[in-house]
Amino acid sequence: MNDQTPPTREERTAALKGLGCARKRVEDARFTQGKGNYVDDVKLPAMLFGDFVRSPYGHARVKSIDASAALALPGVIAVLTAKDLEPLGLHWMPTLAGDKQMVLADGKVLFQGQEVAFVVAEDRYVAADAVELVEVEYEDLPVVTDPFKALEPNAPVLREDLQGQTEGAHGLRRHHNHIFLWEQGDKDGAEAAISEADVVAEERVYYHRTHPCPLETCGCVASMDKVNGKLTLWGTFQAPHVVRTVASLLSGIAEHNIRVISPDIGGGFGNKVGVYPGYVCSIVASIVTGRPVKWVEDRMDNLMTTAFARDYWMDGRIAATKDGKITGLSVHVTADHGAFDACADPTKFPAGFFHICTGSYDIPVAYVGVDGVYTNKAPGGVAYRCSFRVTEAAYLIERMIEILAQKLGMDAAELRAKNFIRKEQFPYHSALGWEYDSGDYHTAWDKALKAVDYDGLRAEQAERVVAFRRGETRKLLGIGLCHFTEIVGAGPVKNCDILGMGMFDSCEIRIHPTGSAIARLGTISQGQGHATTFAQILASETGIPADNITIEEGDTDTAPYGLGTYGSRSTPVAGAAAAMAARKIRAKAQMIAAYLLEVHEGDLEWDVDRFAVKGAPERFKTMTEIAYAAYHDAIPNIEPGLEAVSYYDPPNMTYPFGAYICVMEIDADTGEHEIRQFYALDDCGTRINPMVIEGQVHGGLTEAYAISMGQEIAYDEMGNVKTGTLMDFFLPTSWETPHYTTDFTETPSPHHPIGAKGVGESPNVGGVPAFSNAVHDAFRAFGLTQSHMPHDQWRIWKTAQDLGLHG
């Protein structure tokens, strides 16, 4: 071959490392060498450290706070209490859910670990000493940690600040500890379907309280520069632009004088969406002292106070004909929101997108009612690696399907296939108001069943039950099925906002004269690899190799406004903005190419990395040549430069789906389990980087494994957190974590510019039902219909015991 042979189209495409390429990550060079820059790595001259005095009680009146001994300690600069914040109007702050939350205890505390005073000192050791020296006198009050007891007529009043208020942010409050009742669907229709049905399966399904627990806790560094009036705030923020707006509204500092920077973030999983008292106190402390103030949670603070997830008591009823056609679904949820309603949901959705709970099934009529309740637990209610309350919804429907199959005496895989929304029904309007954009559930399901030899597994299971009954084995076999449908990519501005900010996202691209580029987005990676994958989208769209594109996020002074990264919205929303901005670049590039080639724009066609004259491919201008011309040539009627920005308001959500199957061995005598096989098929539409997708699936499945098999935030009746350290709060190690097999189908989203749907949260949403269903399925032959998660060793043993399997 001659060296002068021009590269083929395929070679040029491959050189871009664009869509579909398992491109190695550009982030990894710094992370593998210990050169990441996380918030605790930020070190400023004269920086102080903040730490909290926290409540040891679940519910108590604060009689007095005496900080004199703390203030007398050398190195202690200040101790802030609610009294200090009150003149600034900052002793309370608004939550994302339309409620308000104490920044520092104002007269009483409502959960263990609540922030009571903020100590500011020269270093973290002195701060910790000072925390011990602050004397707080409490008078303990009756504690309520059970949401059903909280709604009893004589339950203690938790939120005295709301006494007499019968109207909340989401409608009527019918009890002093009631937050809202939120309803969707056709209540009467669902009741009618249930009363007329051949078969009704009814069950209370509890999705327990847990916590996202990223390896890096939450923290920030606030630095008020009094000379130029600018506040800079570094922090673990999944939504830096929203933090800037909130900080401006709360502090009164003009928004242009606030710069928020999310540096590298050590995992988020929803934990870092909310605004926490630590941020507010750090800002105030920096303003008061004129010095930078760092606050970083320790692990106990993190697990006890910032952002729990789930805690949904779901009462489901599902109706069907005797041959297994589902005719209706009705769900009532008692949602434990803790002491303040600080759920991180789009404003109009106090129960998030829980009404995706009809799942993958064509259910003609459905109703959902969610009662939000205050208890003496930490606030939060974040979407832990899921879109807003979607994992709760998927767990509910995937349990109900299993219970219905049991009642019908029908195979659960067959029952699913019988009720799937069919391919030709898309776009599909669900009974609870969603428009599913696309899907092909039967193809995915059949592929999954075949991959694991489903019939073979069922035969083996039947033999195992016989052997167990004969006393030949003590091990049971569970086959956990799940077909989930997600709803991600929030969302259309017409109905999705956070504190009034529409949930669009953004991308700004600058092409440099030599044909490389920088792009900035309104999102922020917490490990998802945006710097790698967004460059791939841009490479395919602009013809500039991904290796020549820098991606920047997280600095509000430079990045365009966006709503951040959570709810799998980065690819569906910011990824779309990237494609749309790139298309603006291409449109201008086409005009420049037409000028350079002296042809009409319409005579050109895009060819991988260049515009070529139609019918004369040897006449072309590459994007590199066009970029140079954009800055160098005086082109009539075209302004110099090559830049574009796009703010993308998605027309709809995206609906990734998947089929997961878990094969689990359970020892009836010890309660131990072993995952023999886990097969995960994901359909996330167009696949940007298969390597990154696989990594996301492995990670999400491991979090699902943790949640379903042991991880929980548990309280005792006194309101003490029983799982406040990693000794008690289950994070699987490499030793327990199972091996996963991943697979895919590809059904592009019809409304997304490149057809991508998002994948980061699917494995958590689909994984939890698959693991939990495997446990239930192992005991199905012995009559088990429901046992609550997490299925730790003791609970599994107890299940076997209660079923009489221990002889």
């Binding site: 210990g34 050169k35 605790d40 390896l215 890096e216 990154v692 696989e694 999400g700 350290t725 490499s734």
Partner: protein
């Protein structure tokens, strides 16, 4: 507050000295006094391993070691395992096999794996999973971390054989 003590140690091949309080933890001295920020703080209770460093030939969680205990010791952190010009094969393999996502556990993981492969140059998958169980990762599910360590072991052994 007790008087500060004078500590001398070798960190990543360089002799260093610093003053620290007797109660200061090694992780804080490394990060805040010596500006070695590769090791991270994830739990402060020895569970997560983000703070793993190599101390006199052993993997230790530097969040539960007093700096005073490391006086005179030889310490290696992730910064000392490779250099930008010449990455260690473990660093290359973690990238090659997508053994990291947010990167927060990665310095501890690589530092631990570096010692593990010296303790056992030909580990089985099971031995890797057992030997790495003191280091938690919330992003990857470990599968690719195990793959990366396996691949690094293979490469290191091939290089050693070629050299012999």
């Amino acid at each position: 507050m007790a008087d500060k003590i004078h500590l001398k140690m070798t960190v990543n091949g360089q002799p260093v000295e610093t003053l620290a309080e007797p109660r200061e933890l090694l992780i804080h001295v490394l990060r805040e006094r010596l500006d070695i920020t590769g090791p991270h703080i994830g739990c402060e209770t020895t569970h997560c391993g983000a703070c793993t460093v190599d101390l006199d030939g052993k993997s230790v969680k530097s969040c539960t070691v007093f700096a005073a205990q490391a006086d005179g010791a030889e310490i290696t952190t992730v910064e000392g395992i490779g250099s930008p010009d010449k990455l260690h094969v473990l660093q290359e393999m973690f990238r090659e096999h997508h053994g990291l996502q947010c990167g927060f556990c990665t310095p501890g993981m690589i530092t631990r794996a570096w010692r593990l492969l010296q303790e056992n140059p030909t580990p089985s998958e099971e031995e890797i999973r057992f030997g790495m169980a003191g280091n938690l990762c919330r992003c990857t599910g470990y599968q690719n971390i195990v793959k990366a360590i396996m691949a690094a072991a293979t490469e290191m052994n091939a290089a050693k054989e070629a050299a012999e």
